[in-house]
Symmetry: C2
Subunit: 586 residues, 2 copies
């Protein structure tokens, strides 16, 4: 027992170690292959997302070594692939542009503060078990946010793709007016590199896979080949750019010299200022990063009958982001597409992620020198193709057909992200979805019921031919009684009681009430006093166990007394009926 | 029918006219008497609350004529007594001190803008039927807010009571440090007037009533005499101040010259600037004013079997506040104590309010000249005694014993109002109560159930000795499925399914689910796909009508098919049981 307890604790705190102990050579090999494939996808994306975040490209590599290893040790998901992600990158950029005000050093330090703060936020939430706070983001809002952010990201890449200069701080609309205003500054060579890469990348997806499988290549191998495409595009375009002298001769913006290797772990950023100013942005980055990561992790885990622990994931992703800050990198999260690739390539444990990290580290030492001539428009093309698949406007129609309110929240989030900016759009959508929820539960269904034939069933008088009694009102409440509907429930009960006067007894049937908060209790309490003043007795029936446990010690229940609390509507009627003459309802 | 329809419409839009048509002379006399008693209570309070709001005392009178008449015509409550109220007054002051920055003209105009904006807010909410928005304020938060505001108001009156100067912008703590720092500036004459009034006012409440009834005075008459006390205190102290020359000889701060009469209706404030800056404060004043008014109105209406229409009340109170702005006055609301006095004095219709307004107008023309020597400390004493009864700290203990979360929200509101200020305290408390609600519903009760004996009842396997079947999992969800609990429900279902493998069928029993939003639908949809991929069939049972109506047209239901949607848990088991061998649960 002690040993199994220890094993469970180790699985809890260092899942990777216990996974490795139970693995075998064949599985390790499989993990190594999956990690390699993921690395091939990751390296070009890491460079591109660093640029998207407004940082030097090598920062994307820094974000893909130490943080990945930390997550591999602590994370409970066996296949989640963490690293730089597009949405977090654009959130970093939108937080840092006003923060740095053009100072590149302040921008870089700001990114580390964001990593550390969002890591700290997640860590605290994990320790305090506040994971439920992330539930504020409903699915439609998350979907709207992702689509909106993806559209915004694509707009930001139009400048790099075309060579037309657009200030980084330009909003969605401003980007297009700037592009139109400076259309004469379009750089044909830049555009050529960008469009060629775009076409190659698009072709290398489904068309290449279909072409290969049609020629007898296995679908697994075809998928792998299709994933190598971005790296091949980078290699080809870099060579082409180098041979033609694209930068010097045609003015194509290229990546330039990238420092070789990885920086040492540094805590210098801790002394910088601006922590408080960046906290709200960091919290939002943490929230979105976590929600994305945990949903991928849960879906993948369930496919293999594994489990992820949402609270431990908070701790793991928190530590991962703090590691990113120490490694000189931007915030990271679990990427959806990358994790799917990792899973499909056969990753079974986080050993695959360690392999990925080692490949990235190796490329930071060996290949950075070769990337100097890589045109930035190629990286822009990689971003566009990667985020294009995040846009899902059909989801909006889909939501609309099911729930107009949710669709409004989703639409507001998309429009908000584009017109108000990333953060305000998200907050506007989340607030609206909360408001709509309160609206829905603010008008609960309240039915006057009567007895169905000679049965013990009591049904809505408006829908069924039921028996009622003069002087006796039976009312069923079909929703939790809480502050958002307490005023409405009070008005409705007042109305029903006034309409059914003269009354001797009122029975509230509480079968649909799972929770009564203080506002709900106040409504019941006031109602009992008001009725008592008019000589009417209030009864309760079918009160659920947990509700009764709470009510038990209240003044209300002492006043009502045990003889006016009934197990069922029928028992209530039987107990009262002596003083109520039978009457057919119309 | 047409006539009754017209009558109903008139009752709806001009309730007073139809009430008067159905009244008689005896009732009108009764209303006249009630209106007079209310006016006697109102006049000193109106002067005092105007000072509390940081305005000249006559503004309180202006707020008690035209606005009262407008409400009398439009309001659906027959006995609500509107006018200046203490909590709104202190909210006006806290909004205008930073807004006016020491400019008295800007302060005065700001108050009119606040009246107009809060009226406009209520009017819009009434027209758009957004009354449910006020449900954001839970009872514990409202109670905490009222107590906190009352404590804060009393603190602000210490300066006027003692004559020690304290800057109006001082916060709760600063008031006491300022009082201590300048204790040497205490004015004994001011303090004497204040304390004497305080003692007289306290004695004139219950002690006077008890003394009078003990001497054979009827309790009704005793109550009326007790209510005249504030006016008598004002008369006596004004005379004493005038005779002793308290202002000139002892430096007692007095009300000073009050302009005679009422100002004409003016729309000049419409051209002032600062509307946008004052909107949030105005919205909060509107919210609190409405919530207070509607709860008093509802309680009083129900006592006589009458009805108030919450939406029409929004329109009526909105128009009333816009009238206040045009009359040169601060925002008004229905006062709790004043409405009770009006009701107890026998008011049957809003004719009583019209009488009240006429008395106030008369006193503005006749008596303002007499008030020049009234010490401000007397008005401070009136404020202190009036708001003292709003402090209800026992409510906090009461809430704690019923619901710790609600008590935390209540406590935070009190502390927040005192330390963060009126508005931020309210927002902090309201946010916490919302958060706690989401927390509660974020962990719904989910039970694995089995068959109880040979009945058709299915109960929790953990609580009852029930029959279960290998390969068949029956799960009951006891809460609405919505975004705040969707992630948790998904994790729980994943866990239960992984634990009960191998499975052939999973039945979700939806008897406790009254609503499934898009996030909830996504959880069900994803679950069905994941289960189908593992060869497990998902079934639904006991789906409520409104939930089924929505689900009907979804892809999920098309995939599940009618044969896997069951009326009851038992029917689901009967339909599936061919491929599930019986098994006793441990």
């Amino acid at each position: 027992m002690a040993a199994s307890g220890k094993a469970r604790r180790q699985r809890q705190w260092l899942p990777l170690l216990s996974d490795l102990r139970h693995g075998n050579a064949a599985q390790w090999l499989q993990d190594g292959l999956a990690g390699t494939i993921t690395a091939i996808l990751l390296v070009p994306q890491a460079l591109a997302y660093a640029l998207l975040a407004g940082m030097p490209p090598e920062v994307g590599l820094y974000a893909s070594v130490l943080p990945i290893i930390v997550y591999a040790c602590l994370g409970t998901s066996r296949t989640l692939a963490v690293g730089p992600v597009a949405v977090a990158a654009v959130m970093v950029s939108s937080a840092l542009i006003p923060f740095a005000q053009g100072d590149p050093q302040r921008y870089l330090t700001g990114a580390l503060i964001l990593s550390c703060l969002s890591g700290g936020t997640l860590l605290m939430m994990g320790i305090l078990r506040l994971g439920w706070l992330t539930n504020f983001i409903s699915h439609p809002v998350l979907s709207g946010f992702t689509s909106g952010a993806a559209i915004f990201i694509i707009a930001t890449q139009l400048s790099a793709l075309s060579g037309i200069p657009v200030p980084r701080e330009a909003g969605f609309i401003a980007i297009f007016t700037e592009l139109a205003r400076h259309a004469d500054k379009l750089n044909p060579a830049t555009l050529a590199f960008g469009l060629t890469s775009l076409v190659l990348l698009v072709l290398s997806r489904d068309p290449l896979k279909r072409w290969l499988t049609a020629r007898g290549v296995g679908s697994g191998q075809a998928a792998i080949l299709s994933r190598v495409a971005p790296l091949i595009v980078v290699a080809i375009t870099t060579m082409a750019s180098s041979i033609t002298g694209a930068h010097d001769r045609y003015g194509v913006d290229v990546v330039g010299r990238i420092p070789q290797g990885l920086p040492g772990v540094s805590l210098a950023f801790l002394q910088a200022s601006g922590w408080l100013a960046l906290l709200p942005s960091a919290a939002l980055i943490a929230l979105i990063g976590y929600v994305e990561s945990i949903s991928v992790a849960k879906a993948l885990a369930f496919r293999r009958g594994e489990k992820v622990d949402p609270d431990q994931e908070l701790v793991a992703l928190g530590a991962t982001n703090i590691a990113a800050a120490c490694a000189g990198a931007m915030p990271v999260a679990g990427g959806f597409a990358r994790s799917m690739v990792n899973f499909d390539a056969g990753a079974r444990t986080q050993l695959a992620a360690v392999v990925t990290a080692l490949w990235v580290a190796l490329s930071a030492f060996l290949f950075t020198g070769l990337l100097a001539d890589l045109p930035k428009s190629v990286l822009a093309a990689i971003i566009v193709v990667a985020v294009w698949q995040l846009i899902d406007l059909r989801a909006l129609l889909h939501t609309w057909s099911y729930d107009k309110g949710d669709a409004m929240a989703q639409g507001l989030t998309i429009v908000g992200v584009l017109l108000l900016g990333i953060e305000h759009g998200l907050l506007a959508g989340a607030s609206l979805s909360l408001l709509l929820f309160l609206y829905r539960t603010s008008r609960p269904h309240i039915a006057v019921v009567g007895r169905l034939g000679d049965t013990e069933h009591y049904r809505n008088v408006l829908r069924h031919p039921v028996q009622t009694w003069r002087g006796l009102l039976l009312v069923r409440i079909d929703e939790n009684l809480y502050f958002a509907n307490a005023p409405r429930v009070e008005s409705e009960l007042h109305r029903l009681i006034v309409e059914h006067q003269p009354l001797g007894d009122v029975v509230l049937i509480m079968s649909g009430v799972a929770y009564v908060d203080t506002s709900g209790l106040d409504v019941l309490d006031t109602l009992e006093r008001e009725l008592a003043a008019q000589g009417i007795r209030l009864h309760l029936a079918e009160v659920k166990g947990p509700v009764m446990d709470r009510l038990m010690h209240t003044e209300l229940i002492r006043r009502i007394g045990a003889h006016r609390i009934h197990l069922s509507a029928h028992q209530a009627v039987c107990a009262i009926r002596g003083n109520a003459e039978p009457e057919r309802s119309p």
